[in-house]
Amino acid sequence: MENQPILQVHDLHKYFPISRGVWGTLACQPRRWVRAVDGVSFTVQRGEILALVGESGSGKTTVGMNVLGLQRPTRGHILFGGYDVTEWAQGHGPSLETGGGDPSTGSGLCLAALSRRRRVMLLRERAQMIFQDPYESLNPRQIVFDVVAEPMEIHRLTHSREEKRERVRAALETCGLAPADHFWGRFPAGLSGGQRQRVVIAGALVLEPELLVADEPVSMLDVSIRAEILNLLHVLRRERGITILYTTHDLATAGFFTDRMAVMYLGRIVELGPTAEVLKEPRHPYTRALISVIPVPNPRRRRKRMILQGEIPDAIDVPPGCRFHPRCPDAVPECRETDPQLRAIAGSHEVACILA
């Protein structure tokens, strides 16, 4: 089991319907979809830190939500620890179905016997999420102690008040909020952004997850405290072997602490490989352009910036062929015909471009 990757995403698609309105429905207009994720596949090894990099509309956050089952994939499969968890996903705003009876393609544990709710609970214990907005991801009326203790209460992990206190204390102090009793009586409003984010991480850690999806965890924090949070994630991987899926729009922070990087554009991965390699030798024109426009904190090194014209198109009307071709500086006529898939260029470095 050791060599099996902890997460496998196969051909994930997530489409959101656009309302046609009453007239549209009556007129039998064809349904239109926002193709947020349009065929994404990747594998994450246990203990690895994978960066999902992309601008808005790239689908990176949606991938994270689908991996954790917070949204239900339209098509494709998510395998977590070998078990197909695709069917376990809840819709946003849960339905009132009580499940059971979904066949699971897992080995070992006979999950088919468990109710859907129970299966979802199992998943939650092993995969958790860190959110982007530290000012919104905490209930303003819950004190820190309750925030961190609640996951344990839900999953019935502790049997005494002492045990609960100890585990909350341990989680808070691991996340740098020491002494814990200085913090656990406070409301989120009394904490800075960085501290709030640590509370969220502590709340996730307390379940002892194997996978953390960190959705832009530092983009709303001041520059001087970003490193602390990223360092914390790095330490968690080193000391506890937690696998991290790190979503960001900031290539530079991704470069700082991740092992592998996947660059996303309009719902697809366009380049995937070891982080240092992708940053030093980008093969996809989009990646190259993205790296070139990232400001470098040194005026002596003002580089030539490849500024792409126009904007990222809507995920509703995806360009035909290669979805990047309208903005691609290297585009050739074939780019409009073929839809390139990810293929290996050098070792584990993959690119989705016919010219690479």
Binding site: A227, F256, K280, P297, N298, P299, R305
Partner: protein, 323 residues
């Protein structure tokens, strides 16, 4: 030649119970004609307050307690409101933070710019419309799109529209407060490129207020680093990035990830910016300063802004002694 000269600007805020909190203290800098100045600092350091103060747009609670803002031979802080109204937008214009989201949603983009023109420059609606078309083209928006509504524009286009509005009256100074903060990386680059081009074409002097060091490195000639309402360091861009003297600036440089050096360590500054109702008597950065030369002296006495070299000022006891 300095087109704008700010000297010893200090701004207080009155809280509900009457106490005066010092938001900005003794801030001095100069904007050279045709150059761009970047004002850098974390949230709450007072940089937006400084801009609002010099345009006399502070809210009711704000009080300018000291200082001079010399522009065109006059001290703006002592001008009448009528005079200020002529200066605002026509000579010194501002792109406010979050302005792209504050466009009037029920009016077309064109009509909003036309209105601004009619208020300041000309009553003639035809002239105003023509000029609006020119402005939109100038910022890279096809003129006919002016007849659309803000929600039909993407984020980047809205920001361009706001810049067009700010340039309507051909000001000599443009202040941009976090102009790229809510935008994608590629659009950020487009907007910065636009600002650079406008600066060259229109002979603008630019002030950019931001927390993004990278943006400052790419586009600004001079840099003012603020911390806790005061100036920490003020120098040209090269000196700030390659020879920072203030411990805060140094740490800030180390905290900024460099995409060309992946894997290198990233520093962070422990602690939080000072609460302005609990300001220390001495150096405001001292509680977070890890400089090995730090002494008790630093916490007691406020370091003055000292010019180490021509055009390189630092407010740090240690730096001014060594340098």
């Amino acid at each position: 030649m300095a087109i704008l000269d700010v000297r010893n600007l200090s701004v207080d805020y009155l809280t509900d119970d009457g106490t005066a909190l010092c938001a900005v203290e003794e801030v001095s800098f100069r904007l050279e004609e045709g150059r761009s100045l970047g004002i850098v600092g974390e949230s709450g350091c007072g940089k937006t307050t400084v801009m609002m103060a010099l345009l006399r747009l502070l809210p009711e609670e704000g009080r300018i307690v000291n200082g001079q803002v010399i522009f065109g031979g006059r001290d703006l802080l002592h001008c009448s409101e009528a005079e200020m109204r002529k200066i605002r937008w026509c000579e010194i214009s501002m792109v406010f933070q979050g302005a792209m989201n504050a466009l009037n949603p029920v009016r077309t983009v064109e009509s909003q710019i036309v209105e601004s023109l009619r208020l300041h420059i000309t009553q003639d609606i035809r002239v105003a419309r023509e000029r609006t078309g020119e402005l939109l083209e100038l910022v890279g928006i096809p003129a006919q799109r002016g007849r659309q509504y803000p929600h039909q524009f993407s984020g980047g286009m809205r920001q361009r529209a706001v810049i067009a509005m700010a340039l309507a009256c051909a000001p000599s100074i443009l202040i941009a407060d976090e102009p790229t903060t809510a935008l994608d990386v590629m659009i950020q680059a487009q907007i910065l490129e636009l600002l650079e081009r406008l600066q060259a074409e229109l002979a603008l002097s630019l002030i950019m207020v931001t927390h993004d060091l990278g943006m400052v490195a790419e586009t600004c000639d001079d840099v003012l680093v603020m911390y806790g309402g005061m100036v920490a360091e003020y120098a040209n861009s090269d000196a700030i990035f390659n020879d920072p003297q203030h411990p805060y600036t140094q740490r800030l440089m180390e905290a900024f990830p460099d995409v060309e050096e992946p894997g290198s360590t990233l520093a962070s500054i422990p602690g939080n910016p000072p609460r302005l109702d609990e300001l220390p008597p001495g150096c405001r950065f001292e509680p977070r300063c890890e400089c090995q030369w730090r002494e008790a002296f630093c916490a007691q006495k406020m370091p003055p802004l000292v010019e180490l070299e021509p055009d390189h000022c630092v407010a740090c006891h240690w730096a001014s002694r060594i340098g």
